[in-house]
Amino acid sequence: MSGPLVEQGFDLMLYGMGTVVVFLSLLVVATWAMSTVINRWFPDKPVEQALKPSTSIPPQVPEKTLRIIKDAIAQHRQR
């Protein structure tokens, strides 16, 4: 049970798994470094930021949605 095909499989496992581990290890280090740099020099207020997206919906959608909702509620009441 060997031959070129199995050898290719072995190579793929070796280099593939190697790449995955090396790459993600690098990413661990890079992420840790990034977080350190950001939290030291470019901190932001996570609470305030976390709330922000819910109000930054583009006005168009709510405008329309608002209208649909009002209609829907009106229809609902009529029933």
Binding site: V6, G9, M17, V20, A30, T31, M34, S35, P43, P58
Partner: protein
Amino acid sequence: MEQLVALWTSSGIAQLSVGQFSMMLVGLGLLYLAIRKGFEPLLLVPIAVGTLLVNIPGAGLDAAPIYDAAGHMTSPGGMMYYIYEIGIASGMFPLIIFMGVGAMTDFGPLLANPKTLLLGAAAQFGIFATVLGAVSFSALGIFDFSIQDASSIGIIGGADGPTAIFVTSKLSPEILGAVAVAAYSYMALVPIIQPPIMRALTSPEERAIKMEQLRPVSKTEKIVFPLLLLLLVALFLPSAAPLIGMFIFGNLMRESGVVERLSFTAQNSLINIVTIFLGLGVGSKMSADKFLNWETLGILGLGAVAFCIGTASGVILAKIMNKYSSTPINPLIGSAGVSAVPMAARVSNKIGMEANPHNHLLMHAMGPNVAGVIGSAIAAGVMITMVGNL
């Protein structure tokens, strides 16, 4: 009378082969699993319908267009042919879905505890071990898998539908149907496949380990992280750039907070539209001649093995890390490294609560869970580089 004969010979009964009939049963079986058993219905319902349609004899839904000698089209071909060629052979549909998945992904837990990325790496061992298994079967003459087929089978263990479809459409499109069905089915089976392995490899004390609460993560970190990831991919593994690139594109739309319209559409209309057509397109590879053979059994079996090995590898690495880490790591979160977001993380949480009802592992398991998505995309990139041009 002639017409009656024409109608009859064009009818399904006269043409239906045993294979096509069997594939219709397969399609109905997939529908049963999707509708009654809740097996990843978003993909399996369209795949199942695609399977039914493509096996209707004479319907020509996957027929290629026909051109005469002068290059003029004499027959436009069927809808499923276009869906496959435009959306899947080009890689666009899985990439668009991956973008939508990115827009749904929160890297917060991963950023709070980046070493869980390693668990996402470990779980990819299932992929490569299975590749080796597949080629060994070939060498033994049991199956006839090329190294490309073996890679496509291994990627089932990545537990990521779009990644599996992307890789298989590039490396061995003829087994795309079986691979996609296996990938989505096993993702649905995560709550059944993983717990026994997780329990076998851990002691009750280990399962009861409580982890420290995750620190809050700033918005800037969430915006910079996808760019960092893309940069590393650009530098070290460009062949993973399509998958990772679209994934971080979606995530950046989400986290930047300035393109909510686009993020909303990527997570809703767009991903839904593409899901419908991706499923039909995958179904177009579920014809009898491509699915009903001995190799399909091998694909299904090896795919399950890949899932199991991946689960075990994740748990084992988590045990090792727990030993050497300054903060405690519950080994149960290792199994979430196979991805299958968010199912695998929920399984970790559930098994953890069995051991200790106050042990909430969900957020801790989300780190390896999304790490597993990255890990599989990296593995996909390696495979496409190494065996795509052979």
